[in-house]
Symmetry: C2
Subunit: 349 residues, 2 copies
Amino acid sequence: MGSHTASAARDKRSRRSHGGITLAEVARLAGVSPITASRALNTPEQVSAGALQKVRDAVQLTGYVPNLLAGGLASSRSRLVAAVVPAIGGGTVFMEMVQSLTESLATSGYQLMLGQSGYAQSREDALLDAIIGRRPDGLVLTGVMHSLQGRRRLQASGIPVVETWDLTPTPIDMLVGFSHERVGTAVADYLHAKGRRRLAIMSGDDERAVRRTTAFVARARSHLGADATLPSVAVGAPSTVGSGRRAFAKLLDEHPDIDALCCGSDVMAAGAIIEAQVRGMRVPADLAVIGFGDLGFSADLHPALTTVRIDGTAIGRQAASFIVERAAGRGVAERVVDIGFSIVERASA
Amino acid sequence: MGSHTASAARDKRSRRSHGGITLAEVARLAGVSPITASRALNTPEQVSAGALQKVRDAVQLTGYVPNLLAGGLASSRSRLVAAVVPAIGGGTVFMEMVQSLTESLATSGYQLMLGQSGYAQSREDALLDAIIGRRPDGLVLTGVMHSLQGRRRLQASGIPVVETWDLTPTPIDMLVGFSHERVGTAVADYLHAKGRRRLAIMSGDDERAVRRTTAFVARARSHLGADATLPSVAVGAPSTVGSGRRAFAKLLDEHPDIDALCCGSDVMAAGAIIEAQVRGMRVPADLAVIGFGDLGFSADLHPALTTVRIDGTAIGRQAASFIVERAAGRGVAERVVDIGFSIVERASA
DNA sequence: GTGAAAGCGCTAACAT
DNA sequence: ATGTTAGCGCTTTCAC
């Protein structure tokens, strides 16, 4: 009698149906059951050659495109991965990672959904709802999630999470990043080794940039003495060529004698180089400039920009791999990867 | 007896359930029916204050996040909008639009799903499948869809489509863009009005850039005579500072006497300015340079870059508005918007 | 290799 | 204002 009820329901042409082609129709055309059609599309090796061909013909004929909402609901695998970045604008260091992530995921049949957190942590709750609500098969965060509330919600959701661009002893789940402290230290050492002694810093005001700066200052003081002057300017995110120019102008007005400048991003460094040229300073003769990010234009500036390179492509690839492996049910051997960094020596420093 | 079957099925704790909190559980906790809980979340004005409070308490208590896959399947409104861009990398003119689109959509409760087409039209079919399969409530394309196959599939899908960054007499659905021909013409006029007579062009090789270039050349010839020399270089996408430098170097080696350069993007223009400075040319005294896009850095170059400004923010806002209005069932008054462009006069030309 | 039945979690459609 | 019922289109489960 259950089947009686069900078939009766199926008989009266539903008024909720929106006229799209469904798997059931493809199956009917192919002369097989819906489940066989489903298998022909998802696991063709489980289906006989004859059935396979008939289903494929029917798909071709109808232009059928599977409804992934329905598929995701039934299988609880949405084939969607979410990524959260501070901003989508040009000239941010994260874009290389996003590009790589998109490509790696597409290869495995996943689609990327991009969310903007904004540099201020406002609206984070709404963004998390929008993400969790779609039941993505993975979530990639730029930076680590600090709010306890956010961490709890993500953990409760059961979504595989990859935090990136940082290291932390307490990741939510998986992690691929590098040490910002070590970057600051390495840059201070680099400039010192080049004989620079009157260092200045301009940097973003986000938490990771601050940690690089702090480490830079600490190391510089250990080289130059605890009472060394280390002028610094913090620039609100997002950093731009313009904010770099202005910050450097201000720095120079107050401290005209500096001989090296450590910048929080290549974009700001480009601004500083422009401002220096306008003022008739020679880079690197009068002023060494070092950036962060190794963006696409950095090698083509004049002088070519010495900078800290982060392999965003590798971060994206690794994050994608973590998520795909997890989805496949395979355990991920190492859940934390330190991707490292390198100082790319060019003309500017 | 139908209900008998249904309740029997509901009784045996399903082994497919994945332990997440469902609306049914929230409703039970609140002591109301599932549909009332649903209304409390989606259309609170239809629910009594008492019920509303009880549902909200239950949501708070459980940390319930609605499953949007299920909701989308049931309502055929996915609250998802897809956008296709050639590339996600930094320094492309489209990012301003994407940012604006993301924000406008978020305000209306939609989430953006970003797809990369790549500059080559390969894999377009797979991308369309990935998009159509998720039944987005709208699709924003950068540029117009040319392939007949693609147009047909989109039309058959019934998804509201907004083509952008171009005008065409035959849009698939909705359109917000500007005339690339008029841009080319206007730039030729501008340089001519500034007294420049030995013009050169370097430009991307994508279809829209080619149309700008063609119009530029035609107008320049009408000013200078049909036999005027108009050296030009096409650069494969994506254009970068480096490709701009190299293209300009090549151009200059073959035609050292040019006095104005029209660039297909601000990024290439920045490269040309750098190369000019390296060679000791003065911009704009020896060479006028005009770009395209008015990217974030353009006003802060030295000299500040004269360029063609496209209001990407307006494009994104308009596209979002088109889609949201369509989803609300309201007819969109004007389905085609010419957003125009302007030449921003700065120091470089 | 193939299929019938029973959901996945939600909302539209009709009650009341 | 609230509830009942019947799906949305797919896949899992279990049986053959």
